[in-house]
Symmetry: D3
Subunit: 237 residues, 6 copies
């Protein structure tokens, strides 16, 4: 249930019988030949598909995240960390104030991972109601990663692993073959300009595409893992 | 051209020939019987339709805004002002850093209006490239407001003026008749709880709906006015 | 009753019988030929005159506001928005902590208007006593604006409308005639340097002066409207 | 020259020949039987009298400072330190941006002293023009303190030392005798509530008043010392 | 070379010939039977031993980190994320301003990992000199983890892996046996109170101790891996 | 009792019988020929020696403080004031949350003194348990200063007064004689670059050294004064 396909009365009704909610968080950033919205589109879509049979509401994806190392590729938006943690704090505060007690933050972008630290801090905010918050990066969660690794161990930004029918750009032909792999150990130390120089098309390595059949298997694993989280990932209380 | 329907190379190409961009900003908040996403959906849609023939890229809507007075209606998200101005600052900084020089912020929510102050501050940030930024609240801009006023002077939150085919919620019947009008002079002083008590369904007054034909005329005026802004709203330099 | 003409014991006594207070907020900024303190002087004076017969205490005016677009005119001071909202928050917190329950912020400067958003947020701060806060820009409130419009529809920064005996500068001759009108739609997009280039004397348009008799009528309307607000502008509870 | 008695053109002219400016900072806080504005009134007045013969402009006093320990006395306003340092930073930035190169912050309130740390930080802000900033607490500067000590070594908040014709409140009779002295070593550890309990009238100790002749001598010393600072307190460069 | 065993002239000399520096970051937090300073002591010690033969200076450890989930165990100190990122930013700014161009942040505490995001942001700060920053969590870096895994795959907070002669507390007997393992997937969702209830002694699982010989092998691997980083972990430029 | 020589259980036990704790705060900054850690080393050492016989726990020294005026001397680290006050706030919050009710902040660096303002604000934070906090700059507290003044009234940064066996750097010869005294009244207005130009070795004036016997007398006075504070410096309640 997308929150944007609902009105407030429906959410109020839902809160009479359940207290779970999903907040997808993504990024607007270069993904090589793929959509600038890849991380946001996937986080939202995997959330919606996972939550659908459970009737859990899914907020609109937070489309902007932390991607300072990609800002030399036009179209990339990056929030400072000091900004990003306040956005997530505010959203958690609103949800808690309305009675949500189990919040799943479904993340589609590696650069957002530090916000998990803020979430742990938030859970311990003084004098507040007990609210559980899960932070789940869907694309490299154990079962999804295992599903992908059956095809290819190389799983890099902007490569086949993010190349779905719903992240491709109309009219753009994806290259065959594979991009050279950027040294991960050193990538964290590159400026955005250096990153663009090292990866002229934005792919950080590996094959550009796989068959839709293969991709569907990866996707199904991702959806199933998020759904399992929404069903069984909470603390018993 | 939606940024999410593009890859970064396409944006890079665009920047060779133009320097305009649109950032729609909305809100996730109660709209009575209508979608919780009304302000975000309309800001993004009016932006996309206006920009389409001009080829100007449109960022994904920032779906969360400032709506503290509606937080007692479940599903409403509100960022603190201190957070919101930093989000907008970061996005403007990214755009400026990539070569955009004319940015139109198309706003769909009255509560976001204070960010216009931040924009005026940002334009004057020290030591930076000259970047123009327009802040345009599409729904009450002069020509759009005039188009709406031909039908009804009562134009309130959650009423007919926001009731489009694309903001209604599937399966929800909209009442006929009109909601009682909340005293605007005093509404600013209401807490969220008091607001909900005064407006049990979230509509702040006036008729709930008009014909699709009437609404299309309002909508067309809104799109035309944003398009005119994108074409002629800039300072000559 | 100016707070600066009182000691704390008098304020403590007052709080035994009433819970209203006035916080005037102004700006230190260029006003063409008029005093750099125009907005502060007027906000404080209109507050003091309005509150006098009611016995409501008036704080000293906050003399600095948000005026980034005028900083190229020497003597203009501008606080960043992130600073300004914290100043107002702190003052509201102090007043609330001492038992004030109805606070009127009387504003003399258009650039301060965004703080109304902070006030709406503050009213909804969690876990706090219910405190009403009115934000009133005295110079363009309905009745005052109507009184001024009987004389001249052109009411711009630095023009006749702000030219009172108490905002003129000793020894400065005010020009006759009128300044050319700056295009309001585009003024919001000007940098401070551009603003100064477009308005060499700082007046944004219209006649520089009117007779003291005319001005007194405008002033009386302003005082009366603030007084009415202090008497009847509150929510019944 | 009060900035509020000037227009911007006069300040622009001044900057052609001089680059000094005075920013008085005070507090709105209990002062026993004396005005809640004592620290602000004195800081502004000593600045204006000192600067007058030199033609140096004096900004309006920043009337709100840091006084958390007095907030239990109604009428006391206190800014958080995080707020206060940003206000002062913004004002310094504005002045520097307009060409002022020697700024004297004349302080009237002990609780504001920590801002001297911010000033030292600001002087070292990266990449900026060299601007000198003096922070001078006029009331306990060496020569002024010496002048006062000739009369009485007890110089406490709310006592004779702050009791001038221009800080007394009309119609309020000041007690004869002396208030008991609060232990200074422990006063820093008192909450506002405890402070009020220990000092029921707000005076922290010592005689309540001296003759106007004595006070004039103290005052003259204060004015002279500020003037000397404005003339000779700067680094040679 | 500990910075605290040097004076500034020695650091100035060093900068004539090298531009590397080490900043150890730790935490003051419960470690079961072990010292509350375990993470700080180890981060500093591994840095000093690794840097010694290279002559690279090592700053004093930042002893406080982010550990909100352990605050129910007395003696645990935790900085908010908003604070912590500013501390690290300031330290990086100072180092960059003095000519350091290769900074290794050696981390001893898992909860500090989010600061890696700030570092990536900082590397891309606008208009600044190019400075490389490595963030290295020494205790689970590949070679150190491999060395430890030869002994035991269970490597949890407060267990054998942190139990060195230099993290034990004088006079405290460490239990034999092993603590029950806390479910890692769910641990992130525990409040500090729940954490203490689930782990009454603070160990999150596994054996409490191993022989000093085994521990020395782990330690040697940690030191060697940090040293290799300081020698070869940088980008060629 | 150093906290780093304890585990959490020992601190928990301590809290059953006492509620005092010591937080030493220092600085990493140039001290002429002496250790860059002088202020941190002394603050921690004086705390540990003073607290030892009382059994009061001493946290690890916060080694970084505010020293913007020394940043031109390599090895000096300086936190912005906005950062520093948040660090201290967080530490106080943690201590208060765990039951400490009497906190002594023992300061070793003049530039940190503004944090006393934050502490007074913190004591008055709303809605919190009553916690006493003393801020004590050990090196110029009355009795310690008196002990030093018996030897020499000149007591400046980087001179004899900070020259102990435990702040000297191995292998560094300290000059005989005395450094010229920097004008204190003007020193506050110097940039870091100017400071370094005026004080080429970093000593701000006076003799470089005295005999160990003299220094021990000063040190003993410092330890005794801190101990007296820990025993008798609190408010009776």
């Amino acid at each position: 249930m997308r929150v944007f396909d609902s009105n407030w009365m429906q959410i109020a009704d839902y809160l009479e019988r359940d207290d779970r909610v999903v907040l997808p968080v993504g990024s607007t950033e270069q993904h090589g030949y793929l959509s600038l919205g890849t991380d946001a589109l996937l986080a939202e879509r995997v959330s919606v598909e996972a939550a659908e049979p459970l009737g859990v509401p899914v907020l609109p994806v937070l489309p902007f995240g932390m991607a300072p190392y990609f800002t030399a590729y036009p179209g990339t938006m990056s929030l400072r960390m000091s900004t990003y943690i306040e956005v997530v704090r505010d959203l958690l505060d609103c949800l808690a104030g309305q009675g949500f007690r189990r919040i799943a933050v479904i993340n589609g972008h590696g650069g957002n991972a530090p916000v998990a630290g803020l979430i742990r801090e938030w859970i311990n905010r003084p004098g507040a109601d007990r609210v559980q918050v899960l932070f789940h990066s869907w694309y490299n969660a154990p079962k999804t990663a295992a599903a992908a690794s059956r095809f290819d161990e190389d799983q890099y930004h902007g490569s086949w692993l993010e190349n779905f029918a719903w992240t491709r750009v109309a009219g753009v032909e994806i290259p065959g073959g594979a991009a050279p792999v950027i040294d991960r150990a050193k990538a964290g130390n590159l400026t955005a300009e250096e990153m663009r120089a090292q990866s002229p098309d934005g792919s950080l390595g590996g094959a550009y595409q796989r068959s839709d059949e293969d991709m569907q298997l990866v996707w199904d694993a991702g959806v199933a893992e998020v759904r399992e989280l929404l069903e069984k990932g909470w603390l018993d209380q």
